[in-house]
């Protein structure tokens, strides 16, 4: 990002709009979808940093995001979010895998079109960020604790995607 500020400004603006801009999904939910997709793509940097950001939208508590990324039947994860995670997981594999049944199941749990849209675009965007980070073999700390202050900054100060 620092190497190429011309593209970084728009990558940050996209993350800001997707994860912190107006949406019927909370930022904790959206950051958890980002962490879930990054974990499926085995991208350690994105997984651990967005896991920490999700936690800091929840007072620094990691239990919600960890329930989301583990895909367990945890009561903290609503049936609607679970249905959106099914869609996000399929987008991670390939957009064509999402079926009309997956979308109908999310709607039956109360998901709106904007929520379905946002789940698809967050999953698609993290298929980009993950490849960008790993394709250039960026430096990646492996200790989850190293990401906690970064996640706190992401949750409280955002991605700085200010246009111009």
């Amino acid at each position: 990002m620092a190497f190429r500020p011309e593209t970084a400004v728009h990558l940050r603006a996209l993350a800001e709009a997707l994860l912190r801009g107006p949406s019927p999904l909370t930022s904790a939910e959206r950051e958890s979808i980002a962490a879930f997709v990054s974990s499926r793509n085995d991208c350690t940097f994105c997984y651990l940093s967005h896991r920490a950001a999700a936690a800091h939208h929840d007072g620094g508590d990691y239990t919600f995001v960890d329930a989301v990324t583990k895909g367990s039947g945890d009561a903290r994860v609503s049936p609607k979010l679970r249905a959106l995670l099914t869609i996000a997981g399929k987008v991670q594999q390939g957009g064509k895998r999402v079926t009309a049944e997956d979308v109908a199941a999310a709607r039956a749990e109360g998901a709106t079109d904007v929520e379905i849209h946002d789940a698809v675009l967050i999953a698609a965007a993290f298929c980009m960020y993950n490849r960008y980070v790993d394709g250039l073999a960026t430096f990646t700390p492996t200790d989850p604790a190293a990401y906690d202050p970064m996640g706190k900054r992401m949750a409280t100060q955002g991605y700085g995607g200010i246009r111009n």
Binding site: H10, G94, A124, R131, G135
Partner: protein
């Protein structure tokens, strides 16, 4: 029928009109990457976008970016077909062939790009910025392809639609063209 109720525009333009908040940074990003100042020509960059979209089997993206690539390359549609089918045998530079190897691997997974792939591109004259931009173009189209197919957006069949649209985008850019021009 798209999975959600989108405005009646083909491909990525439906969800972009549906959600302008995210369309703006997406268009700005693609304008910088594919049309901004660069030692790779717009035609070369559109070929990378087309190749990745074909690898991901996204019909709308590979057809529209293929048409834009051809427009930038003096109407050479045969070259676009050749790059999609077998870039190693296409009439493009060895440097671009090496960059397409990196792009193809990025499309599968960023982790597949090796130091040897990058070294080969460097030896054929690729700069760090060109390698960076190739990885990011490939990554961005892994996003756009999933966005377009994940919502099951529509894609016109008529090649004339894409040629017309390509001329408009090549002239005016992505952000300026999203909501303008013929729909279907």
């Amino acid at each position: 029928m798209p999975h959600i109720a989108l405005p009646d525009l083909p491909g990525i333009r439906g969800p972009m009109a549906f959600r302008p908040e995210t369309a703006r940074p997406l268009n700005d990003l693609v304008d910088v990457l594919l049309r901004g100042p660069n030692t790779l020509t717009p035609g070369e960059r559109e070929l990378i976008a087309t190749f990745v979209s074909a690898e991901n089997d996204c019909r709308y993206c590979q057809t529209i970016h293929g048409a834009i690539a051809a427009h930038h390359l003096g109407g050479n549609e045969a070259l676009v077909v050749q790059v999609k089918a077998d870039p190693e045998r296409a009439a493009i530079s060895d440097k671009l062939k090496a960059l397409l190897v990196i792009a193809g691997k990025t499309a599968e997974s960023g982790k597949l790009v090796t130091a040897a792939d990058v070294e080969r591109a460097r030896q054929l004259g690729a700069t760090d910025i060109e390698i960076h931009d190739t990885v990011l173009i490939a990554a961005v189209f892994c996003m756009c392809n999933r966005y377009v197919d994940g919502l099951d957006t529509s894609a016109p069949d008529d090649p004339a639609f894409y040629r017309q649209r390509a001329a408009l985008v090549a002239e005016n850019g992505y952000a300026a063209s999203t909501l303008t021009g013929p729909s279907k």
